[in-house]
Each structure stands twice: as structure tokens, then as C-alpha cells.
């Protein structure tokens, strides 16, 4: 009988090396690159949270940016308008995002795939419109700037380490979740919802729980954005960002756990580079999407794990 473990020793070593590199990074890099890597982590976390429902649940969540934005706005508004301690803001932001996700989920989850996605887009746009228009409360299209950040993490190094720690903790928790019975069953729903229902799974309830979890971690990513930038913008909720997050998952590999992290990082890095030369970021994104569909349908990490996996399967066979 084969022994089953949560994490192989080789992956553990890789993860440890990567973590060490990330921990040492601020001492070697300039301010701009520290900022950039922090943003890569935030965005990667955001993509990973979407992938919980997209890659593991097979749910086409087309409005994920909304939970990112709402998490961020909730934290910022609580701090600025509510006078709440920023730490509480960070804690409550994701909770608000999760609550919104529950509400939207209750409305959408009964619908089939395509209609589910379409209703999500419209509900998401509604939230965006409220944020965009409610000038006196949310700052409208200007967003909010100079959102207070606790002194401990007020410097760029502090923000970086805060992002690193929270991201690692969130990834660990999400890794646990996707490998829990909940996660396994979620995958079975992705593969064949009808059969999942037939073996005794309450599919709608399961999907709803998945949406709430994804919304929560999307909200965490949003609050991390506030610590890095000290500002929030309505663009954070806009559907184009939602689309970008989906592309990150596809790019990195939506059937792998760390693929979206990689995809998120890649998109942020690309935008930073491309932004120097051209304003047509959406066009670049479109080209990436096209290349992906043609050459890497399983994403970058999916492509490599498939290659490695073939070698490993042979070794485990004996």
C-alpha cells in the first residue's frame, strides 16, 4: 500500500528555500523592488483565493475582484470613517468580504454555470457602481488615500514582512482546505456535479461554503493591498480586474495549488515592465491570454508538473 502524505519532502525543501529567499530579500533589494515583490505576493494570494473556487470547485467566478476591493474598502473605511484601530480593520475587512460573498452566493448558486457567471458580473458591477458613485463616503473615483497603517508595519520593510507572513499563513490554511475532505469533495463537484450529488453531497451548500472561503481570502488580499499602498481605488472592484485574476490562474496553472501564485506574480511583474514601454496593458493581456490558450492550456506550473509528474509516476511504479 502506498503511503500518503500531505507534503512530499522535496516540496518541503523547495518551499523552505523559497521562504528563506523571500525573508532575506529586503536586505538586498531597493525600495521599489521590495514594493513590487510585496505586490506580487498580494496579487498571487488574490489569484490563489479565486482558484479555490475556479480550479478546485469548477465555478466560474467572474467577479472576484469585488471581494478584493470590498475587503480593502471595508478595512479603509472602518479605519478612516469609523475611527477603528487599523488592526481591527484588517481583521474585519475579510469578514465583510466573506459576508458579501455569502449574500451573492445565496443569490447566484442556484444557477447553472453560465448564468451563474453572468449574474455575478451584474451584481459585482452593482457593488462597483455604489463605490464609484458614493462620493461622500467612498471618495468616488478618486478612491481613498493616506489610509492609516499601524506603525509596526508602516515602513516598506514592515509592510513587506507583514504581507509575507500573512500570505504564507493564508496559503498554508488554503492548502489545508484544498486537501481536506471539503477540498476533495469540491474537486469531485468540479469534475461531475451530478454524480457528486448522487453520492450524497449537498452540492449547492458545498459551493456556497467554497464561495465564502474564497471571498474571505480575496478580502485578506485586499487588506494587504491597503498596507502596501495606503490607498484604495474603485478600479480594485472593476470587472477588468476580475478578468485579470482569472487570467493569472490560467497562466500559472489552475489545476495546481501554487500556479495562481506564480501567475499573479508574473502578471504584476509583466505590468511593471510593460508599463514602461506602453500604455496598452489590456492589449498585452489579451495577447498573453491567446498564447496561453494555444500553447499552455494547463498554465505554466501545470505544464511543468505534468512533465515532472510523468517522470515521478515511473519511479513510484517500482
Amino acid at each position: 500500500m502506498q503511503k500518503q502524505k500531505l507534503l512530499g519532502s522535496r516540496s518541503l525543501i523547495l518551499v523552505a528555500l523559497l521562504l528563506a529567499a523571500l525573508a532575506l530579500f529586503p536586505s538586498m533589494a531597493s525600495r521599489y523592488y521590495i514594493y513590487l515583490v510585496a505586490l506580487m505576493m498580494v496579487t498571487g494570494l488574490l489569484a490563489t483565493s479565486l482558484n479555490l473556487v475556479l480550479g478546485y470547485g469548477g465555478m466560474y467566478q467572474f467577479n472576484h475582484a469585488v471581494f478584493y476591493g470590498v475587503g480593502a474598502y471595508a478595512a479603509a473605511l472602518l479605519t478612516v470613517r469609523g475611527g477603528v484601530n487599523p488592526w481591527w480593520g484588517y481583521l474585519l475587512g475579510p469578514v465583510v468580504a466573506a459576508a458579501l460573498s455569502l449574500l451573492m452566493g445565496l443569490i447566484c448558486v442556484r444557477l447553472s454555470k453560465l448564468y451563474f457567471g453572468m449574474l455575478q458580473i451584474s451584481l459585482g458591477s452593482l457593488v462597483w457602481a455604489v463605490v464609484f458613485r458614493w462620493y461622500s463616503f467612498t471618495g468616488g473615483d478618486d478612491g481613498m488615500h493616506g489610509v492609516p497603517v499601524p506603525r509596526l508595519i508602516g515602513s516598506i520593510d514592515g509592510a513587506y514582512y507583514f504581507v509575507l507572513i500573512v500570505t504564507v499563513v493564508c496559503l498554508a490554511v488554503m492548502y489545508l482546505i484544498v486537501n481536506s475532505p471539503f477540498g476533495r469533495v469540491f474537486q469531485s463537484i468540479r469534475d461531475n456535479p451530478e454524480r457528486a450529488e448522487a453520492i450524497g453531497v449537498n452540492v449547492r451548500q458545498h459551493q456556497l461554503v467554497g464561495l465564502v472561503i474564497a471571498g474571505f481570502f480575496g478580502g485578506v488580499a485586499g487588506t494587504l493591498f491597503v498596507t502596501v499602498e495606503g490607498s484604495v481605488f474603485p478600479d480594485m472592484l472593476f470587472w477588468t480586474l476580475s478578468l485579470e485574476i482569472i487570467i493569472m490562474c490560467l497562466l500559472g496553472g489552475w489545476f495546481t495549488f501554487l500556479g495562481p501564485m506564480l501567475g499573479g506574480g508574473m502578471v504584476v511583474a509583466l505590468r511593471a515592465v510593460v508599463g514602461i514601454y506602453t500604455d496598452y496593458w489590456t492589449m498585452v493581456l489579451g495577447i498573453i491570454l491567446m498564447l496561453l490558450i494555444f500553447f499552455l492550456p494547463e498554465g505554466v506550473l501545470g505544464f511543468f508538473t505534468a512533465r515532472l509528474g510523468r517522470g515521478r509516476a515511473v519511479r513510484e511504479g517500482d
Partner: protein, 247 residues
């Protein structure tokens, strides 16, 4: 244990099942036979909740379960192995069965316990029992047709059903695979005490396995009884079995 009375289901104007009647007693093996399109699959889906009947009763262990959603029906101890293979194609054979075991144990909403620590033994037991243990690690989408049909059964067994319904369990299998499946069905019934309801076009298999047979034609039950009764029934002779009756 299961009693179906005057069940009816129409798809638009088309009456797929017009009047199905069926009795299955605890511990039996009962077969449903009938020509293509007789409504056997539709009947099974009505019983397991995949389809909602327009009329009629499905009484399981004394309670009417007609119209209940599939997951509720399943939790009462009734599971279906599909005619058309319907597994979880991206997951390994082992995980396919494990999720069924987890669902039965009502552990599906556990978020922080690694799944690898749960339901392993029971899953191995089922895989050994059906003879898929050596393929446990394979992605189920890559299995041969015969193995997929066995996995179908294994998933249904993961629910540890009291009544196992199998829709053409050996369709498309090679003669050896069919023999193995037959042995398995007998063991499930004899050793594990699972009541079995199945349908098949292979008459040899039907008469070998079943203690009682129900015959359907054009959505209607035209006979139900022991093998001999059914074999001698005039309606059946006429309608379906024809020359096969003496085979």
C-alpha cells in the same frame, strides 16, 4: 424494502415511463429487463432522485422518497451505479472512491483535517473487493471502459448502500470482465448482504443472477415474478423474450 407504484415520467409530450411497478425485498437480487428505450434508466433515475416523477410512489424502507433530491435519497441507503460511466475524471481512482466514503460519513464539510488521514482503510477495502487496488493511483479518466464500469460500482459501494441499483453493470465489458463482475455482484449480495436491483440486456447474466425479474416495455411494467414465472409469461414471450425464453 423498495416498492414502486404507478410511477410516471414524461419528457415534454413523450411518456418515457407510464406505469412502472416494482417490488424489491430485503436481501434479494432483482433484475429489470426490457428492450432499448423501455424506460429502465429513467425508472432508476426516478428512484434515486435524479429525475422527479409526475405521478406515483417510491417507498423505500417504509417512507415515500419520490421527488427527494439525490443527496437525500443517497443518505437513506440507496445508491446508483450508472449505465453511462459517470465518475470524477480528473481525480485518481482512489480519490473517486474516497469522496463517496467521506460523503457517507458526513465528513465533507471538514475543512482542516487532511483527507489523507480519513477513510483510507475503507477505501482500500472497497478497491480490493472490486479488484481495482492495483489501479488506485491512476487518474480515473484514463481507465479502460471495463475498469470504469467497475469504478462506477466502487463509487456506489463507497456509500455503503443497503440497496445498490446498477444500470447495465456489465455493458461493454469483455467476457472475462463480465464474469468477474458477476462474481462481485454475487459476493456483494451473499457476503455483504446488499440488496441489488439491476438491469441488463444479457439474458444469461440476468437468469443466472436474479431471483426475481421485472419486465418493462414502453414505459410499462408488464410482468414481475421469479425467473420461471417470467419465462413462461405469455405477455413477456410475446413482447420481448421471443426465442430467448428457452435459452
Amino acid at each position: 424494502m423498495l416498492s414502486v407504484q404507478h410511477l410516471r415520467k414524461s419528457f415534454g409530450p413523450f411518456l418515457a415511463v407510464s406505469d412502472a411497478n416494482l417490488i424489491v425485498e430485503q436481501g434479494e437480487i432483482v433484475a429489470v429487463i426490457g428492450p432499448n428505450g423501455a424506460g429502465k434508466t429513467t425508472l432508476f433515475k426516478l428512484v434515486t432522485g435524479q429525475l422527479k416523477p409526475n405521478r406515483g410512489q417510491v417507498v423505500f424502507k417504509g417512507q415515500d422518497i419520490a421527488g427527494l433530491s439525490p443527496h437525500r435519497v443517497c443518505r437513506r441507503g440507496l445508491s446508483l451505479s450508472y449505465q453511462v460511466v459517470s465518475v470524477f475524471p480528473r481525480m485518481s481512482v482512489f480519490e473517486n472512491v474516497r469522496v463517496a466514503v467521506l460523503a457517507r460519513r458526513r465528513q465533507v464539510l471538514r475543512l482542516f483535517t487532511p483527507a489523507v488521514r480519513l477513510a483510507g482503510e475503507e477505501t482500500w477495502e472497497i478497491l480490493n473487493n472490486v479488484g481495482l487496488a492495483d489501479k488506485a493511483g491512476l487518474i480515473s479518466g484514463t481507465l479502460s471502459h471495463g475498469d470504469s464500469k467497475v469504478l462506477e460500482m466502487a463509487i456506489a459501494l463507497g456509500n455503503r448502500p443497503e440497496l445498490l441499483i446498477m444500470d447495465e453493470p456489465t455493458a461493454g465489458m469483455s467476457p472475462e470482465e463480465t464474469r468477474a463482475a458477476m462474481g462481485l455482484i454475487q459476493r456483494l449480495n451473499g457476503d455483504m448482504g446488499i440488496t441489488i436491483l439491476f438491469c441488463e440486456h444479457d439474458m444469461e447474466l440476468v437468469f443466472n443472477l436474479a431471483q426475481r425479474i421485472m419486465v418493462m416495455r414502453q414505459g410499462k411494467t408488464i410482468a414481475q415474478g421469479t425467473c420461471d414465472e417470467v419465462r413462461c409469461d405469455e405477455n413477456v414471450q410475446q413482447a420481448y423474450l421471443g426465442g430467448h425464453g428457452d435459452a
